[in-house]
Amino acid sequence: MSDNYLSSPRGIKSWLTTVDHKRIGVMYLASILFAFLLGGIFAILIRIELLKPGHNIMSADTYNRVFTLHGAIMIFLFIIPSIPAALGNFVLPLMLGAKDVAFPRLNLASYYIYVAGALLAIAAMVAGGVDTGWTFYTPYSTTTNGSVGLMTFAAFVLGFSSIFTGINFIATVHKLRAPGMGWFRMPLFVWGMYATAIIQVLATPVLGITLLLIIMERVFSVGIFNPQLGGDPILFQHFFWFYSHPAVYIMILPGMAIISEVIPCFSRKTIFGYKAIAYSSIAIAGVSFLVWGHHMFVSGQSPLANVIFSFLTFLVAIPSGVKVFNWIATMYKGSISLEAPMLYAISFLLLFAIGGLTGLFLGALATDVHLHDTYFVVAHFHFVMMGGTVMAFLAGLHFWWPKMFGRMYSEAWARVSAALIFVGFNVTFLTQFVLGSRGMPRRYYNYLDQFQPLHVFSTVGSWVLALGFLIMAGYLWASLRRPMDAPANPWGAVGLEWQTSSPPPEHNFEEVPLVTGGPYDYSTPEPDPAEVHA
């Protein structure tokens, strides 16, 4: 068997000092999956505690730290880097026909900065943890005990990792496309990553300065957010959400980008509305900077500001809707097969639809006043982040798994896992919409007795969800122990990454590819697998 990027060069030192985007992607993948496991354990603990009101398995103080860490780990250590750094790093240069990203050494630096940030976050946990919620609202975060400074500094460091990935991707897309690949011949995955990178570059620094200001408040009492010193605690919310709202599009745009690859492949049909999807990705990135105030409708900001933000929020819904319709239209008269990547893509369509539609309830002022800070919001963001991004991530993971590791996984077990995850997810989180609209606030350790049956139901759902993921861990691990016998193009997909071996050689392509056609040319029948075997 010929050498590939995994087998050569050999030795742990070659991995630790690698500048190969594929190896960096694999290291990121392992790291974010570990973060997902940690965040997931915290989630299970939360749901067990909530089986009954009041004390169950932990004190209120511990519970507050557990939900804060669940949020901080999932957002900063898992979901934001997940698709861009783990899958994007691997696939983007291949899709462009490039040998690497524009700045390979910066890429490695980005990974080590991620590790540094993760270690700082773990140090913060060990030092006692943080109980502010991942949103660090002042004045609570600037006055409470706990390792707030360490945790915010960890997030600050992680921000650089995100920024460097964004810078790298933008430069790569501009300068390293293969000959013949104009902007409108790029796969939509690349458009999605490009739009994401724009947000990463523009929004993350604002979070950076906001976190530094929290540290300055705690250490120096600079006063900016302290009401007793003439500062404004609501100013913090503006600074924080100015980043954190675009951040949620950093989370969803890459997910949408994957769906645009998977659905055409498994429908064997070209994508419907390529330009609309490309432009809507950029539009989402742009408008995402204008709606942050919808997190603050009841914060005390003026009714006029509320009205403007509500209006803009509804506008940002339209491009997302357009994409969903385009994906469905792609399936029309297609030739559809339901392997694991497609099962996850379909899960995405259904669950993201619910997530997006429930956003309407929150964008409308009158209903938001009732639903804000309740479980309705918790359900909404889990539907878009997990039902959306994580499902898309799983679709991409299963789609590119053979390319990355040269092995297939058990399709039968993958289907079992997908079914358990879909059912478990819905039981866990659909219930929470009802909890929220009935008046159950979020971040609550204790609750009124009337909410208990729904909490129990949601917790049972979380166990089914966890089981689905455990099975996935099992069959993916088993896959890695198989011989490397995956074909170059097991799915019959179109795209430059499928024209090299599985796994690719260290330098990606034997010859520089020349692009002469569009990216979704599925209208010819599926080529004979024997012909494309590497």
């Binding site: 609570y140 339209i318 008269k333 009158a366 009935r438 204790n446 599926e526």
Partner: protein, 314 residues
């Protein structure tokens, strides 16, 4: 049908405004159901109708359709604009209070709610309002941001330190309504609950005239038990011996306790009273100095009642 959906998803409507919010909410449920069924239905249908027959399947090369794309851009745009206007219109109702509203001052602090009425009466964790009359709340916090949320009224507003925020409502359903803190504020966040008593005007005025003294005719220890629950003591002090953020009351009366400075003090009337009014004066060893003070918030009889209550814990 609507009533059934409402009964499953929403709490009781405690005000007319709640009805307006529910109206929009129901509309959104129907819009969501329509679009979800459209997405799920088409997906499900296509997955079956266009399933792969074999490796030789050919598919048409359809890249776009301007008419369809325009339709599914403009129609949703019109729908969301309609939703925006409806939400905005209803919201305006809740932002401007009537000029003749009864004004009640609200002060939030970790972790309880204080209310002050125009005649100077003050209550903790219970808000009394007259039925069918507009009530305006002027709110501020003494420490961190809290959130004032009454699910049955469908109203919510953050309560911010160093500034005043406002809320108004007109309750139409007599009885007891729940108030929950809805902006995370630390350890006692989920026990920072209060009750809103909506009574007809006469009953409300009677209550106000008595100075809000609910436990007037109760024996002291029983009154103390009521205050223990309503004033948030329960958050930190258990009655069964389990250590919380504060010492348990079980069996402490009449015995000495060790303080954080090494000294010892007997648990008697004076110690209990001082701990309520000047909680930082004597901290029991092994506990943090986080108890809020009730100085100026409790009447003499209430203090006596709490002392009797602690005494009764065997």
């Amino acid at each position: 049908m609507n009533a059934w959906i409402r009964s499953v998803l929403m709490p009781v409507q405690g005000t007319a405004y709640a009805g307006r919010v529910d109206h929009l909410y129901l509309f959104l449920i129907y819009v969501s159901a329509f679009f979800f069924l459209l997405v799920a239905g088409l997906t499900g249908y296509f997955v079956i109708r266009y399933r792969r027959r074999g490796p030789g399947d050919r598919t048409p090369h359809i890249t776009h359709h301007h008419g369809l794309e325009a339709a599914w851009t403009l129609i949703p745009l019109a729908i969301v604009m309609f939703i925006f206007f409806w939400g905005f219109h209803s919201y305006m109702d809740v932002t401007v209070s009537p000029a003749d509203a009864l004004e009640i001052q609200v002060t939030a602090k970790k972790w309880l709610w204080q209310f002050e009425y125009p005649n100077g009466v003050r209550t903790i964790n219970e808000l009394h309002v007259p039925l069918g009359k507009p009530v305006k709340l002027v709110m501020t916090s003494e420490d961190v941001i809290h959130g004032f949320f009454v699910p049955t009224f469908r109203i919510k507003q953050d309560v911010v330190p160093n500034t005043y925020t406002q809320l108004w409502f007109q309750a139409t359903v007599p009885g007891i309504h729940e108030l929950e803190c809805t902006q995370y504020c630390g350890q006692g966040h989920s026990t920072m609950l209060a009750k809103i008593f909506v009574d007809d005007e006469k009953k409300y005025n009677d209550w106000l005239a008595t100075g809000g003294d609910a436990g007037k005719n109760m024996p002291l220890a029983e009154f103390g038990a009521m205050l223990y629950a309503s004033h948030g003591c329960r958050t930190c002090h258990s009655l069964d011996g389990i250590k919380g953020q504060g010492p348990s009351f079980k069996g402490i009366w009449g015995h000495p306790v060790k303080l954080s400075d090494g000294k010892s003090v007997m648990v008697d009337e004076n110690y209990v009273r001082e701990s309520i009014l000047l909680p930082q004066a004597k901290i029991v060893a092994g506990f943090e100095p986080i108890m809020p003070t009730f100085q100026g918030m409790l009447r003499e009889r209430e203090l006596k009642a709490l002392v009797e209550f602690v005494k009764a814990q065997k």
